[in-house]
Each structure stands twice: as C-alpha cells, then as structure tokens.
C-alpha cells in the first residue's frame, strides 16, 4: 500500500499518489487511519486534517534540506557531532535531558538509559510543567478511558477550556461528534464546552459555558458541592453550573476532556485535582471518565517509559545514583543549575544562555552547540508511540530515510560515554 517513492519524488508521481493507512504523529491523537494523497507539492490527508498535512509536509521537506549534523551552526559529520556531544556530556556538572515532543518509546528508553548513566536530570513534561494530569494524579488518582470508550458510551462530553479543533483537529470526530459520526450512541449526545474564548471548538458546542479561566477552581469546587447537595457558597455561576450538572445527571456515562487550559500556570495542580475530585463524586451514581490532552505526540510515550524504568513520571533526577522525583517549577533548568542540555526530539523549550545545548531532532537547529538530524518517526522511521489515552500504536515510515533515529544516536552516545 505504501509507495515511498511518491513522497520522495513527488513530481514524478503526478497527478495523485496515495499512501496508507498510516499513523500520523502530528498530534497526540496518533490517528492510524490516515491516507495521504499527494499531487505534486500538495499534500492532503484523508480524513482531512490540516495540522497533520502540515506536519507531514514539514518533515518531508526537512529531510531533504537540513544538514546531517552541525557543530556551532557549521555542517559536520554525525560522528564528529556525537564525539563533541559526548565530550560535553562527560564534562557536564548538571546535565539535563528534555524535549520528547516527537519521541517514540524506543527514543525514550534510550534517553532514560543515557540519563541513568550520566546521573542526569530528565524532564518529560516541558520545562514549565504544563503537561496535564500527572502532577495531580498521584495525589488522589483519576478515572480515565480510551477514545473508543468515550465515543461509544459518553452521552455528554465536556471539553474544559481546550480547543481541540485547533490542537487535536480530529478529536471530536474520533469521539463520535459530527457528520461522520461513528458513535454507537448515534446523534443523541451533547457536547459541552467550558471556555470564554471564541474558539473553533466553542462553535461546535451544544452547550457553551463561558466563565473566565480564573473562575475554574471556584466552578469545579462549586460543582462538587452542588453534586453533594451541600450548601454552596454563592459563586454567581449557579445557573451555568446547574445546567452542566443537569446534563450529566441525565445520562449514565459522561466524560471530561482537559489539558493545559486547566493545568498550566499557578494553581494548575489544584484545578486538575478539583476536576478529578468532581469526577470521583459524580462517579458514585454514573460512569464518568476523563481524557487528558498532552501538547505533543511523544509526551505520553516518554512519560510511560520514564514511569516503568524509574518508578516516577514527569521529571526525575538521577544524580544521586537512583531516581528521585522532581516537582516541576517555573524554570527547571535555572533552578537546578543545568549546564548542558540534550534535547531529544523536542520542540521549543527555552533555556538560558548559560546552558550548552545539544539537539537530536528531525528538525535540527543551528543556533546550538551540537545538532544532529534524526529520522522523523512516522515519516522516515518506524517505532511505537503511545496515544494520548495510553494505547500503544505503531508508526510507519512512508518515506524511509538514511538519518539515524534518536534512539540509535542515544545508544551511540551511551557507548561513547562508557568507553
């Protein structure tokens, strides 16, 4: 089915080439039913997803343009770049491994192995600590479900201050909303959106609740109090909260979708905790689940690997010779005195000037000390990644490339350091 030449030599394959079904790692949904149509330089995904098309397009173009490696912005061969990276890591006082936006399970395994060897700090939730759910879950737990459970059982789905139409464009479709609905429940379902912004997701809402973000904790705790039939402190939100509870109270199964809109910034952990406590309360007389939206495709994989290899998720410090859990702060590198960082398939974490940076990524950077181009997982290399709900999926390589994977480079770095 997959005809790699179609992507590599698009102009030879006019007018239309089709690949698939393959898994798209353009966002954490990891849709694995994607077919790519390519006509000349135009690339289209079916089912349609502009974000996915852009993601594929950038990586196909990137593979053709970027040098294999750079040292201080100058083209270098991969061996020399690895040697320089190993030198930096060997001399590092406080190394940091981070990124993982596009990491596979094997990338994360190799990264944790290297971090263990180095006694490094490893951060998987972005350096600002914005990944939803994890910081709050160890406190009380959570009720969660895979996409299919929500699609086929939840008659009410509440999107809490997220805009998946922009960030995870096929989420609503995959949860069974819309014309191409595939839910076994049919059309008799309600989409509730909590947001005071005018977003594309808000436009899809059957019920739109619009209090501002700073009222979220108040709203969640008030909902909890109202559900328990206790005397609520006046919040001014009673009408809207009552509508939401009425919707949920009328169905046997409901779901909440949340993300950085709830968890990011000061008080995020408390807000997420309040959501899980509300869900727990609602669960006494119906089935209620949550779904967290990570910001990038590789984060769930990295978090899962870190948890099984160290026992801890999110941010882990291996400097003492064993894993220690680190609570995310506003600025992890600065707080921890990081001097050398190794970014694995990462995005755009901001690091201070005092940090010497090494980057392994399919979209390399020239403004760092060492950068090595990797094969983009899901485009140029295969692998396994964990979908936002934890379901592991295989990534295909519709355009196999010659660049090494991040896992392979990390393995070579480990060998170099152990020499």
């Amino acid at each position: 089915m997959v005809r790699a030449c179609c992507l590599r030599f698009p102009k030879r394959c006019l007018p239309v080439a089709e690949l698939g079904p393959i898994t798209c790692a353009g966002c954490a949904l990891l849709c694995d039913d994607v077919r790519i149509e390519r006509s000349g330089v135009d690339l289209r995904l079916e089912p349609r997803c502009d974000l996915g098309a852009e993601w594929f397009g950038e990586r196909v173009a990137g593979a053709q343009e970027a040098p294999a490696a750079t040292i201080r912005g100058e083209a270098a061969d991969v061996g020399a770049a690895l040697t320089r990276a190993a030198e930096l890591l060997r001399g590092a006082r406080r190394p940091l491994l981070h990124g993982f936006d596009q990491a596979t399970v094997d990338d994360a395994r190799a990264a944790v192995a290297l971090a263990d060897r180095l006694g490094a700090l490893i951060a998987t939730d972005g350096l600002g600590g914005t990944w939803p759910g994890a910081p709050a879950v160890p406190l009380r737990g959570a009720s969660t479900a895979t996409l299919g459970e929500i699609r086929d059982r939840s008659r009410v789905v509440v999107i809490w201050r997220e805009d998946p139409e922009s960030t995870h464009p096929r989420l609503l479709q995959r949860l069974g909303f819309g014309d191409s609905s595939s839910s076994r429940l049919g059309a008799d379902r309600t989409l509730v959106v909590v947001d005071n912004r005018a977003t594309a997701t808000v436009r899809r809402a059957d019920l739109h609740l619009r209090w501002p973000r700073e009222r979220d904790l108040d709203a969640l705790t008030s909902l909890h109090v109202m559900q328990r039939k206790l005397q609520a402190r006046p919040s001014g939100l009673e009408d809207e909260l009552g509508q939401l509870l009425d919707q949920i109270g009328a169905v046997p199964h409901a779901a909440f979708v949340h993300g950085a809109g709830l968890s990011a910034g000061a008080g995020g952990q408390r807000r997420v905790l309040a959501l899980h406590e509300l869900v727990r309360e609602l669960s006494h007389d119906r089935h209620v689940v949550t779904l967290a939206l990570p910001g990038a495709a590789g984060i769930r994989s990295a978090q899962d690997v870190l948890a099984w290899q160290t026992g801890y998720s999110d941010n882990v410090d291996l400097a003492s010779g064993h894993p220690e859990l680190v609570t995310a702060t506003e600025s992890l590198p600065a707080d921890e005195g990081v001097d050398v960082s190794l970014c694995v398939e990462g995005g755009g974490d901001e690091l201070g000037d005092s940090v010497t940076q090494i980057v392994l990524a399919s979209r390399p950077r020239q403004d760092v000390e060492v950068s090595i181009r990797t094969a983009a997982a899901g485009v140029a290399s295969t692998g396994t990644a964990h979908r936002l709900d934890g379901v592991p999926l295989t990534l295909q390589a519709p355009e196999p490339g010659h660049a090494p994977t991040a896992a392979a480079l990390l393995g070579r770095l480990l060998e170099e350091l152990e020499r």
């Binding site: 192995a113 026992g311 064993h322 999926l393």
Partner: protein, 549 residues
Amino acid sequence: MTAIRITGGAIHDPANEIDGEVRDLCLDGGKVVADVGPDARRIDARGMVVMPGGVDIHAHIAGPKVNAARRLSPDDRRDDPLDRTAILRSGTGGLVPSTFATGYRYSLLGYTTVIEAAAPPLAARHVLAELRDTPMIDKAFLILMGNNQVLFELIRESRGAVSSRLRDAIAWWLEATGGYGVKLVNPGGVELWKQDNGYIESIDDHVAGFEVTPRQVLEAIGGAVDELGLPHPVHIHANNLGTAGNADTTLETMRTLSGRQTHFAHLQFHCYGGKPGGQPRSRAPELLDHLSAHPEITADVGQVMFGPAMTMTADAHVSELLRDLTHGKWINHDTEVETGCGIVPYTYRAGNYVHALQWGIGLELFLLGKDPWQVMLSTDHPNGGSFLSYPKLIRLLMDRAYREDQMGRASQKAIRRTALPDGLDREYTLNEIAIITRAAPARRLGLRDKGHLGVGADADVTVYNDRDDREEMFATPRYVIKGGEVAVDDGDLRRVDDGLLLSSTAAFDPEVSDVLAPLFGERYTVAFEHYPVHDPVLREPAQIVEASK
C-alpha cells in the same frame, strides 16, 4: 557458556520424585545435563538445598495498569531506591517496583519465571516493551478476553457453544499479541461496569446489549481454550470477587467448566460464605473438596499478607468498592472493547475481621488442601502483598510455631471462623514448597523445561542455605542460576540476563481475519491492520510453546 557442577546439595525436584537426595547436578549449554567435564565450574552446595528456579504463575508486573500504579504511588518508593552499578540499572522498589528492580528482585528471591496475569490485548505493545525492560526472568502474559465485545458477538452467534470461529479468533489474538494464555476476569461484569457502574450477581445474568451471560462466556472461551490445547488452560478470575457469599458463584463457575482443564486465580478471594453485604465467613473447605474431586482444576491462592498492598485489577467494580472503603487514592481506566482497570492502595490489618479472615482462608487453602500440585503459591502480587513477602508466607506454611504466633496477633473472631485453631498442625516440607513454588506452576503453565531438574530442563536453579529460619532461607538464596549462568551469588547480582518472552501458538484459519476485521472496524479506534504486534524487537528473544492439538 560455562559448564557447572553443583556438588553435595540436597536436591528437591518433586517433578522427578527426588526429595532431598544428595547428588550432583550438572549444567551445560543452558540446560541440565547428565554430566560435565572436569573443567566445569564446581559449586560446593554441601549443607544446601537445591531446587529448580521459582515460577510465579500469577503476578502483576508489567503493562498499563502496573505503570499507572507506579505513577499513583511515588511516596511508596521514595524510601526504597535501587542504585545503579556498573552492570545494573537504577530503579525504585516499593509495592510496584520499576521494571529493572522487578527483574532484579525476583532473581534475588530465586525466581526465574514470572507470569503477568492480566494484560489488555490492545496494550500488548506496551506490555511487551515493559517485559523487555524486566531483566533476569523469563516472562509471559495472559490476555484478557472475558469482556471482549468482539468475542461476545461470536459467542452470541454460536449461542454460547464453542465454535471454530471462536477458537480461531482466540488463536488469532494470541498470535497478534504475543500472549501466552487466556485470562477471564469477572466475565461480563467488567462490561457492565463500564456501561453504567453495573455488576453481575449471577453467572446467568445477561450482559446488556450483547445477549450473552457470564456462563456462556465461561463455557465458550474456556471450552475453546481447552479444545485448542493451549499450554496453559483458561485462567479464571471468577465473578463476585471479594463479596460475602461468593463461594456459590465460584462453585457454580467450577461446575460450569467441569471436565475441562481450568486454573482459578487467587482462590482465597473467591471462598467466602455469608450474605452479600454482610460479614463473610470461610467456605474454603468446600472449595477444596470440590478441587479434590476435580483434578482438572488447579488454583493459586492469592494469600493476603498483613501490611500494605496495591490492589490492581481488571475487575474495576471491585476497585470502586475499595475506593469507598478507603476514601483514598483510586484509578479507574476503561479500555475500549476489551476490559477495565481499577487501582486502590490498600492495607491489610491483622486486627481487622475481614482482613484476618482473608489471611486465615488463604492458609486454610494451603494447609487443608490434599494435593499441593493443585493449590499453588501466590499473593496475587501486589494485590495481597508484594512478591517479596513470599519467604514469610513460606515460613507460615513450614513453621507451625511461627504460624500460631502470627495467628495470635490477628483478629480472634476471624481466626475462630476458620479451621486454623482446630489443631491444624501441618507443616510443609521442602518438597511441598518446591511443588507449590516451581514444579506445579511450571507444569500447569505447560512449560516442560521448567520447574524441574531432569536432564534437558532449563538450567534455572536456586540453591539455598538450609536454615532453620525458613523466611531468611528463602529470602536470601546462596546462588541463583539462570539459563546456566550464575546470576546471583551470595546476595549479589553478578550478571544481567535479558530473559525470554514466552509465547504460545495454536493453529487457526487465517480467514478469521475476514470475520474480525469488520467487527474491529465497528468497535475499535485502532485500525485492524495495525493491531497485531509483529515487531521483532518486541517479540524476541522468545520461546514459543505450541498448542498440543
């Protein structure tokens, strides 16, 4: 690979009817051999006890629920770190250790094979990846099939009978996932839980929306596994776990599968008399009578040990009950089409009537059971307690005075409602311990080269100092040999072995894919063609055990 001669040890190899005979044991090429040359390494085992490596037939060590439990319990592991060394990866322990720590600690305990007893097939890639990172032991996993909507459709179609389509589907699923056997957890009940917190009261209740009953699921899948001749029979976590009066359900489940090879998991949790909602009492003797009359049934005990535990189960309804008892941490996770999951940290207290009764029932199962080949050791790790508590459990079985001391610390009201105070003076012998911890589990798993020390067996051997304190003895083996290499010497890990993945395979008609594909399309959010795991990096190195039919 170095040849080894273990000399002067007392061999306990019940599968070959050797009970403490002092003789040499020779290992070469990863196998037990008749003899080795004069250059072989000699291990002086005089005054020591030599057994096959331990085989854990039922534990929870890998996969999404285990990993969720790790994430839920950072406090549990903070004081139990494992430092990296030149050959070992770092990790953390606690009730749910990290993967490397799990492998190391099982090995340090003398275990060489462990079965992950409940894995969602949809998560096979995750389970396999964790098992790959669990060194030192050979390992396998059982796939959850008791609440699989696709199989429900096939069972409805056959009106509860075993059909060739169902047999083919089960064999396809094993092939697709790398699983070793089939696990049924609260058949039908987990589906009801996921619908609207519903539950099963009787195995003849209907599963809403599917026109099947738990009894039909048991008959059809249990029968299909039996007919396929898989190396391990259907592994059952019966309906109504933990509920007062559930012994009726358990007995009815056993009768339903009468005449078919069956293994019942953590039987202790399914032995309760009394009325639902009321105080339980023990009905272990009745269950044991049934086992005695039905040699085709085996069980592992699922002993609870006083102290902290981490309950984790596909039977998520049970977790809801525990959540409301503890008011503590709780995880629920629903996996589409296939199963559920619940996790609640829990503490068993000696002074608590129910906990002490559970403890006593477990001991009844061990001590009243007539045939140790039928009733095997487990704590349902970490549900009844950590696998690290096995040495203490062994001491409870081997040392009557110690057991009576422990009984004296437990709720006397509960203990009086068991057979324990009735002069139950049985003390397990070393050979009986060897049966319940290696020989019987290996035989029941169909692992012909494990659990014994006959020529041709895997060279997985544990050598213990023969100490009066059996807990200390079994906690600190003198040597552990895995695959013919010394892995543990005097309490230190000396060599890291990846261990093998054990999978089973049975023939099936490949055209079953034509039946399954549309059912997948209707129900899963994963494409049918992407569901099977073929990646060699996840499936190898493996030992494939073929079905016998």
